[in-house]
Amino acid sequence: MSDIEAAFEDGPAFVPYLAAGDPEIDASQRYVEALAAGGADVIELGLPFSEPIAEGPTIQSAIVRSLEGGMTVDDYFEFVDSLDVDVPVVCMTYYNLIYQYEDDEPQGGSEGQKGPAPFVRKAKEVGIDGFVVPDLPAEEADPLRTACDEAGLDLIFIVAPTTNEERLDRLVSLSSGYVYVQARLGVTGAREDVSERTTASLDRLAGYDLPKAVGFGIKSGEQARDIVAGGADGIIVGSALVDVVADGYESDEPVAETADRLEALCRELKQGAVAGAQDRPTPERT
């Protein structure tokens, strides 16, 4: 069992997301550490890509801030390397950055100088545990899956409300660490309501062993509670947290205060998740 999967063992996992380098490296490091302090069980850390087609406006803006601050792939790896957190880190990015990656110091044979293999090796080196790549469907995932297997890292796939049974089977079997259950159609972004489709998706996934983390649109402890009560093994929260960073940035709030607010929101979300687990009619894992 990987460290990521293990993070789901002791009760529902809280999986927060931030874009690395938003709004700049130092503050961002402080914010990521606040996630851990706030109770994160796994951290999804965005490696910014210039065309984030699966993101809503909130995360897109975070990515723009980070890129405008000068974030590069090398910076990202350095950033992760220097993080002081002891929960597993998942790198969330788009495929082209993985595909283009070239190792400065080639290792081993002539293969693997460019693309998924050196990217995964480098990621492992700096302490990354797994990957979510929203524009990489099962159909195109073989090279990255292979590289992850070789390095012993997880590759997490997203299951959408539109995913049919056949694809679902394939996706879950390709996934390791957890399955990312997309709560609703659309892109990332905080919303008020919990979609019925979340429950439907969780039901469809009930027969599979891998932990199911639900994301897309969660912003409050109450939502977290409902979703976990509905059967999720974890919740993924991105835009609601990025909103806190954006707020702080726009109002020139001291970094420490923004970090405090982030930590507080994390606590609320985590508590919601924990409460949700207690609400469950028949808890299937504890």
């Binding site: 210039s50 087609i53 082209n96 293969e111 049919n164």
Partner: protein
């Protein structure tokens, strides 16, 4: 790198990949829609189920105005001392080849039972063409367009609104095509169950590149027939501009496998080439070099200067920095101003079946004025690149050259004159007539 997979089953996945290019790099939420589209493409387009292709061709004729002429350009022929023919896609309804695809996809969406059309548009012609096609077929339609492009391209916005389409301003980023594409993808990711996204060129995830090519291949089908009727044989060279590459593959499609020419010799007696030469003319912009630091490429020459990567759903040639971040592209012609290119074109260039060349902003503007004055046809600035190649190249294009006049220049008048004024374009007219 060893990512090659066995070729997909040609029966069920028509042209999903072109060599290593292509594929389907899209969020999982869209994959079922893409599978559904793949299925519809095979049934309706490839197998003409329910007479889809017949209806498409009929509407292209009656509504679109096909066939478009293949016209000998007398003055250019004299200038270049060869027979230069123009394939007149500028005469298609809407003023550019774009309608072939917009109408095809809109009709396909209707056959698929979709209730709503969305599309992105830059400054070019895809938005208006989609709005026209949707109005023609009675489909509600929303077009995403960058705020900056909206303010720069009033006439195109007017046309879309007048045709009844909603125009959704995209305010993120620089407010141009890139952002509009992302925003349209977002809409689609939310509404995929009842909505079809009409991509505007031979880009995007499979089956888009093959499907868009098939809708445009009527250009090359007609050209082939007209060349034989009017000239007695196939052309020696076919030249088209390439942004995404839809007009390009549209006129190349039926010539890719042209093989050695048979049939009677031409009336004018020229020796036909063994194979039809295919030239994809990209926008050379102001320079072919890039500014890695600022992430800006002052050109849109992805085939000539780009490298392999993944963008907007497909593996293809891109303008990107060494990390893989997409560069800002540039061209005097907004319809060529895109950092990627169709995967099939990328493949054909690698295979050396298509030659990628480029023409810079100045030469394109000069060619714009040249055709206008010499032949009485004001070309789109995109097309002007194809025409500029004729002037610039030292390749031997042979006796019989066909240029794809992908669109008319009415949309470009203000831009062309403004750009002309800022440069030293020797054949530009004076505009002192205004007070």
């Amino acid at each position: 790198m060893s990512e090659s997979k066995p070729d997909p089953d040609p029966e069920t996945e028509a042209d999903a990949k072109f060599g290593d290019y292509g594929g389907q790099y899209v969020p999982e939420a869209l994959m079922p829609a893409i599978e559904e589209l793949q299925d519809a493409y095979e049934r309706y387009v490839l197998d003409n189920e329910d007479g889809f292709m017949d209806e498409f061709r009929r509407r292209l004729r009656d509504f679109g105005g096909r066939p478009t002429p293949l016209q000998r350009a007398d003055t250019l022929s004299e200038r270049y001392d060869r027979d230069v023919y123009l394939k007149r896609e500028d005469l298609l309804h809407g003023g550019a080849h774009k309608l072939n695809n917009a109408l095809g996809q809109c009709l396909l969406a209707k056959y698929m039972g979709k209730e709503r059309i969305i599309a992105e548009t830059g400054a070019g012609q895809h938005g208006p063409a989609t709005a026209m096609a949707a109005a023609h077929l009675g489909m509600p339609c929303e077009i995403y367009m960058g705020r900056r492009d909206i303010n720069r391209q009033r006439p195109n916005v007017f046309r879309m609104r007048i045709n009844g389409a909603e125009v959704n301003p995209v305010t993120t980023g620089r407010g141009t095509l890139k952002e509009a594409i992302s925003e349209t993808m977002r809409d689609w990711a939310t509404t995929v169950e009842n909505t079809h996204y009409i991509i505007g060129s031979i880009v995007g995830p499979a089956p888009f590149p093959a499907m868009v090519r098939d809708f445009h291949s009527v250009i090359s089908e007609e050209t082939r027939k007209q060349a034989k009727e009017q000239y007695g044989r196939l052309p020696d060279s076919v030249v088209a501009c390439a942004g995404g590459g839809s007009n390009t593959m549209g006129i190349f499609a039926d010539f890719v496998d042209s093989g050695p020419q048979s049939g009677p010799e031409s009336a004018s007696g020229g020796e036909p080439r063994a194979d039809v030469g295919l030239y994809a003319v990209e926008a050379g912009g102001s320079s072919l070099s890039v500014d890695e630091e600022r992430g800006v490429a002052p050109n849109s020459a992805s085939l000539s200067t780009g490298s392999e990567g993944v963008l907007h759903g497909a593996r293809t040639k891109l303008l990107q920095d060494s990390d893989g971040q997409i560069m800002e592209s540039h061209s005097v012609s907004s319809g060529l101003d895109y950092a990627g290119v169709g995967p099939e074109l990328a493949h054909l260039v690698d295979e050396e079946r298509v030659e990628a060349v480029n023409v810079d902003d100045d030469a394109a503007l000069e060619a714009f004025h040249r055709l206008s004055q010499a032949e009485g046809i004001i070309p789109a600035l995109e097309t002007a690149h194809a025409l500029g190649f004729l002037e610039e190249t030292d390749r031997d294009l042979g006796e019989f050259v066909v240029i794809n006049v992908s669109g008319r220049g009415d949309k470009d008048l203000e831009a062309a004159l403004e750009e002309t004024e800022q440069r030293d374009i020797p054949n530009a007219p004076e505009m002192e007539v205004f007070e």
